[in-house]
Homo-oligomer: 141 residues x 2
DNA sequence: GTGCTTGCAAATCGTTTGCAATAGC
DNA sequence: GCTATTGCAAACGATTTGCAAGCAC
């Protein structure tokens, strides 16, 4: 499906900028930050403003076409995969990895426990990724 | 137990400022932000600097005496309760509530899945709290 | 031509840094 | 007196705001 139609599915009026940003999100499942997206699209769209990247991602989240991750306190990251899944932040390289979600968690949605209306579920893990772990092991020797 | 000894248990050298900040955290289970803690202690310790609040909470986290919450993208919050439990952020009033943790999640610690060394587990829910929900219902009429 | 979208510059605000003053042993 | 702690002011960096210019139907 063209990204143009993909946006329409979420009731988002397509534009050059919006298509480019959604394209980037769909092709780069690395949970990019605003700055990463902006930097990557600067060449393609030389007049692109960082404000537009902010506005567009806010729009995507409001329309349910992307989710905002607050796992990294340094800045916000975005994910076009809106299926329930967990995220792992490596404290060394700051990369964010996808993990399968704990399916038990889904029940919270329907529980509506004590009148709390749960709209979003986030499962965050933090630690050291295998790549950094093996690198740290090498540096010890 | 005196907060003085409580800090010693975590290998933190006590000071007037550190005791006051830990006291505040232990007595106010509202997951305060840096600014809330600073504002609250300004009267008690007029010379208190916000830098000290930042330094102290960083120290607490490093020594395992508190945990940092990144549930709210606007700013970081702190919790002296280091037991595994979930957090609910109300999108309207921005209050953070404690929830019982999904005990299944604890298994991730020991799983060390695919070589990922999980040091921290965070379960975040976002939505509307009962207090705001009933208020919004009133305003509709 | 009306309304939505974009983009620039400035403002804002949370957080960090550098360094000098202070306190505790 | 030495070392760790504190606190101020400045710097930094992510995000927001105000507004004018541009685009689409």
């Amino acid at each position: 499906m063209r990204t143009y139609d993909y946006l329409l599915n979420y009731d988002i009026k397509p534009s050059v900028q919006r298509i480019a940003i959604m394209d980037y999100l769909l092709e780069h499942r690395t949970h990019p930050s605003i700055d990463e997206i902006y930097m990557a699209l600067c060449d393609e769209i030389p007049t692109l403003s960082k404000t537009t990247v902010y506005n567009t991602l806010k729009l995507f989240v409001e329309h349910g076409a992307a989710q905002m991750l607050t796992i990294d306190e340094r800045n916000v990251n975005y994910d076009a995969d809106i299926q329930l899944h967990a995220h792992f932040l490596c404290k060394k390289c700051n990369r964010i990895y996808d993990f399968p979600a704990n399916r038990e968690e889904e029940k919270v949605h329907s529980m509506n426990l004590n009148g709390f209306d749960v709209e979003e579920i986030h499962q965050y893990y933090k630690g050291i990724c295998p790549s950094c772990a093996s690198q740290m092991k090498k540096e010890e020797n």
